[in-house]
């Protein structure tokens, strides 16, 4: 998995134009790429014209509780279009291995960049 790029000028501009959503990571399932406290930018329009692809990092609703939004990686796209999503830190992630695949409709956006990194010393909170 490629490291997530820091938000560049273009990304920040899109954020100011409200074309990006900013969210803060809670939990350790996306270590080592995303640490608790890191903030990311998400493109909520990324999948209006095309479905998610394998390796995309997605902003997705928990199929057991739609109010709980999660960040996971798409491991595979099934023939019927459903998505098998996993955390990068398999030992500490609840994902498709537990609740099954998710539908493309449950995906609310694609993670596009790292807005800010958590300062050292507070990254262990989860």
């Amino acid at each position: 998995m490629q490291p997530l790029k820091s938000s560049n000028f273009f990304e920040l501009l899109l954020f100011l134009l409200r074309r990006r959503v900013r969210r803060r990571i809670v939990g350790r399932s996306m270590l080592p790429l995303l640490r608790p406290g890191d903030e990311i930018l998400i493109d909520p329009r990324a999948y209006l014209a095309q479905p998610p692809h394998p390796d995309d990092m997605v902003w997705v609703a928990d199929p057991r509780n739609a109010a709980n939004m999660m960040v996971k990686r798409v491991l595979a796209v099934e023939p019927d279009g459903s998505l098998f999503i996993v955390g990068l830190n398999r030992a500490e992630s609840t994902d498709s291995r537990h609740f099954g695949t998710v539908t493309p409709e449950q995906v609310a956006g694609r993670v596009t960049s790292l807005f800010s990194k958590v300062q050292k010393g507070i990254s262990e909170e989860a």
Binding site: V26, G27, F115
Partner: protein
């Protein structure tokens, strides 16, 4: 950096990247019990005489097959949990053929599911024993491979 200042002054809403319960409890014994059941059911199926096409024989055969398939699938599930959750990249140094062993063991589960092969069922038990040894060596413990039957 400006973005760090923004994050500090105006924190974003949370998004979950958590685990419901990272219990960290793993044991290849789970896979072993299911693999033993596969071997047992394979032996029972082979012991049945299919030329006696009575309702009872067909019923028994169906039950044995259903259990064998279910147990083979459970064996695979428990092996995959060990592979993807317990074993870490660091373990590859001591076991460079770790991926190959798990891949072949998982393939044997499918083999046992699809066919009635005593050879495959015994090979699956041997593969589970191999993984048992690799697992306990990784934990720095010497645990004998004990079967229930």
């Amino acid at each position: 950096m400006l973005t760090n200042v923004i994050s500090t002054l105006f924190p974003a809403q949370d998004v979950a990247a958590h685990c419901d319960g990272p219990c960290g409890v793993y044991d290849p014994a789970q896979a072993r019990v299911h693999a033993e059941a596969v071997l047992s059911m394979t032996k029972k199926i082979l012991a049945l005489d299919p030329s006696d096409a009575s309702h009872d024989t067909i019923n028994t055969m169906s039950r044995y097959i259903a259990i064998k398939e279910e147990e083979a699938h459970s064996t695979k599930t428990h092996l995959l949990v060990l592979w993807t959750d317990f074993f870490k990249p660091a373990h590859l140094e001591a076991n460079p053929d770790l991926h190959d062993k798990f891949w072949k063991a998982a393939k044997l589960c499918s083999e046992c599911k699809v066919h009635v092969s005593l050879e495959s069922a015994q090979a699956l038990m041997a593969a589970v024993e191999d993984i048992h040894n690799m697992f306990w060596a990784a934990k720095g413990q010497d645990r004998p491979f004990v079967t229930a039957s």
